[in-house]
Amino acid sequence: MTRTFTRYFGLMPLLVALTGSAMAQQPPIKIGALNVLSGSFAAYGKSGRQGAQLAIDDINASGGLLGRKLELIQVDSQAKPDVAVQEARRLILNEKVNFLIGIDSSSVSLAVAPLTKEYKIPLVVMHAATPALTEQCNPYVFRTSNNARMDAYAAADLAAKLPYKRWANIGPDYEFGHSSWNDFIARLKEKKPDVEVVGEQWPKGGESNYTPYITALVQQRPEAVFSVLWAGDLVTFVRQANAFGFFKQIKLFEDPVGAALESIGPMGKEAPIGELFSTRYWFLQSQSPVNKKFVEAYHKKWNEWPSYNAEEHYAGVQMLAAAVKKAKALDADAIKKAFEADGGLTYEAPEGKKWMRPADHQVFEALVWGYTTPSNDYPFVVLKDITMVPEKDTVYPTKCK
C-alpha cells in the first residue's frame, strides 16, 4: 500500500510540471475569457466567445495593441463559482493572462472578483448582471454591460408610461429574479402610485414545467406580467404560455434580455406577437456605420446574427482595448486610471454610446424595448416600435467613490 502511495505521489511533480509547460513566449497580450460553455447556458457562452473573438481579430488586423497581438484563451466556467475560481487561477498563474473577461453568471462574477485584488489582474465583466458586483467598489473590476438594477429601472420608467395597473411577476427563483422584480416594482410604484401587484411566481431555474405558474397567473388576472425569465427557461415558458392562450389576455413585459437571439431564435414562428421585449442590444436597431459593419462582419465570420451577448463581448473587448491604448500599459492600476480618467471612458459601440462611471466602474448605456412582430426576412420574430430607454434613465447613485 505504501509502495504504491510513494510511487504515485512521486509522479505528482511531473504531472504538475506538465500542466505548466504550455507557457508561451511573452509577445501576445493574453486575454482569458471565462464563459459558460456547457450546461443550460452554453448558448450564451458561445455567442460571447464569438463576439470577443471578432473584436480580437479586428484589433489584430489593425496592428494589435501597443504593438502586440492579442490572444484569446477561452475556458469553461460551467456557471459554477468553484470551477470558475479554479479556472481563473489557472488563467492567471499558468497561462499568465493579462486580463480576465466575460462571465455570464452572477455568482461566478462575485466569486472571481476577489482574485483581481489578490493577483492584481483587471476583470472586465460583460454579461453577469448582479448589482452587487459593482457595489463592491472593487478597483480592478469593470462591467461593460448593464446590471440588473439599471435594466429594472429602465423597465419601470417605460412601464410607468403604459396604461397597465394590475401587475404580476414571474421570475426565476434566484437572486437575479428577485432583485430585478424588487427594483422594478419599487421604482414603478414611485412613479405610478396606483399600481397594484396581484401575484408573484417563482419557478426554479431550469424549470421544465410552467403550467402551474401559468394557470396561477391567469387566475390572478393581471394586465401585464413582468418577467426576467431568460435563456431556455424563457423559451419553455413562452411555449407553454402560448399553449394556454396566455398572451391573448395578458401583456408580457420581458426584461432585460427577452429579445436575445438565443431565446427568440428557438421560439421561431411561434413566438408571441405584440409583446414587449427588451434587450441590451438589437442588431437591427442602430443604423450607425459601426453597427452595420459589426453585424456584417459577425454574420460573415460566424454565419449567425449577433445576439446581445455577442455584441456586449465585442464592445467589452473594444472598450478594454481603448483603455489599454489610453494607459499605454497593461498593469491593473494603469488600466484602472485609463477607465476612470476624463469623467470615465466612453466608447461608441455598435449599440451606441457606452459610458463608464468612474466611481463604481459600471457602464451606462441605452436599453432597447420593442414589440415583437413577425418577420419575412428572419426565421424569428423581430422588434418594432422600438423605444430606446436612454442611459440617463438607468443611472442610480453609487456609494463608491
Partner: protein, 283 residues
C-alpha cells in the same frame, strides 16, 4: 388539471428508469440523457419544423431503441452483476459523454418546436383555456402505461420480463435467452425515455444541462412511487406533478425543497416506495 399534464411528462420520463431498475437492478444515471437524446433526434429529423412531428416521432423513438440496445450490449451487460457503485459510475460516465457529444453534434442552442398538427389551439375546460396538446400528452402517457401493462401482464414475453427480476437463474434453466431479454428491456426503457423527450419538445426547450435536471426528477418520481413498479411510477408522477402545481400556488417559497421533503418522507416510512414491493424477506 395542470398537475396531471406535468404528471404525464414526468411519467414518460421516469417509467423507463423504473422498468430498467425493476428488471435489471440498474440505477441508470444517464436516463435523463436519453430523454434529451430523444428530443434531439426529433429536432434533427424535423429540422425544427412542427409539421413533421407525427411523421418523425416513430423514427426518433426507434433511434432511441437502437441506442438503448447498443448501450446495453456494449456497456451495461458488463456491470450487470457488479456492485451498485460501478453501475452508478458507468451510467454517470455515459451522462457526461452524451452531454458533450450532443453539444458537439447538435450545438449548444435551445431546441424547441411548435405545437404538432391538430393541437395548435387551446381547448376550453369550464371556460378556462387549456392547451389541447396537454390532453394529447396525458393521452399518450396513459396509452404508454396501458400498453406497458398489457405487455408485462398479458404477453408471454412480458411475463418473462417480470420473472427475470425475481429469478434469473430459473429463466436461464428454462432455456430463455436472458441476455437478449435484458437487451430488450433496456432498449424498451431507453425507448420510453426517448419518446418522453421527443413528445416534450413542443413544450420545453432542450439543451445541454437538461439531462441532469431530468434524471434527478425521474429519481424522485420513481423513489416516491416505488422502484420497479409501473403503477408506482404513475402514482409518483401524479403526486409530484400535483405537489408542484399545488406548491407553486400555496408556498412558492419552498417549492424547491417540497419534492425533496416528500422523497425523504417516503423513504423513511416506506423505503420501497408507495406502490413498490418490499424487498423479499431473507431467510
Amino acid at each position: 388539471m395542470t398537475g396531471l399534464a406535468s404528471a404525464a411528462s414526468l411519467f414518460l420520463l421516469a417509467v423507463g428508469l423504473s422498468l430498467i431498475f425493476g428488471a435489471l437492478g440498474i440505477v441508470n444515471f444517464a436516463h435523463g440523457s436519453f430523454f434529451a437524446l430523444g428530443a434531439y433526434f426529433l429536432f434533427a429529423l424535423t429540422r425544427g419544423d412542427a409539421a413533421g412531428f407525427w411523421h418523425y416521432l416513430p423514427v426518433a423513438v426507434a433511434a432511441s431503441l437502437v441506442v438503448g440496445a447498443v448501450v446495453e450490449r456494449v456497456f451495461m451487460r458488463r456491470v450487470l452483476n457488479r456492485a451498485e457503485h460501478y453501475q452508478i459510475l458507468l451510467t454517470y460516465a455515459l451522462l457526461l459523454i452524451i452531454e458533450d457529444v450532443s453539444k458537439i453534434c447538435f450545438g449548444a442552442d435551445y431546441k424547441s418546436i411548435g405545437m404538432p398538427k391538430g393541437f395548435e389551439m387551446p381547448v376550453f375546460v369550464l371556460g378556462i383555456p387549456f392547451p389541447s396538446y396537454y390532453l394529447g400528452l396525458v393521452g399518450l402517457a396513459a396509452a404508454a402505461a396501458l400498453l406497458l401493462w398489457l405487455f408485462l401482464h398479458r404477453t408471454r414475453y412480458g411475463t418473462l420480463v417480470r420473472a427475470v427480476a425475481q429469478d434469473r437463474e430459473m429463466l436461464e434453466a428454462l432455456g430463455v435467452n436472458v441476455p437478449l431479454l435484458f437487451t430488450v428491456i433496456f432498449a424498451l426503457g431507453i425507448g420510453l425515455a426517448g419518446f418522453g423527450g421527443a413528445v416534450s419538445l413542443p413544450l420545453q426547450s432542450i439543451s445541454t444541462g437538461v439531462a441532469v435536471d431530468a434524471v434527478i426528477s425521474a429519481f424522485i418520481v420513481v423513489v416516491v412511487g416505488g422502484l420497479g413498479s409501473i403503477w408506482g411510477t404513475l402514482l409518483g408522477a401524479i403526486l409530484i406533478g400535483e405537489i408542484q402545481a399545488f406548491g407553486a400556488l400555496v408556498l412558492p417559497e419552498f417549492s424547491i425543497a417540497f419534492t425533496y421533503v416528500l422523497m425523504a418522507a417516503v423513504l423513511l416510512f416506506r423505503p420501497w416506495g408507495l406502490l413498490g414491493r418490499p424487498p423479499a424477506v431473507r431467510t
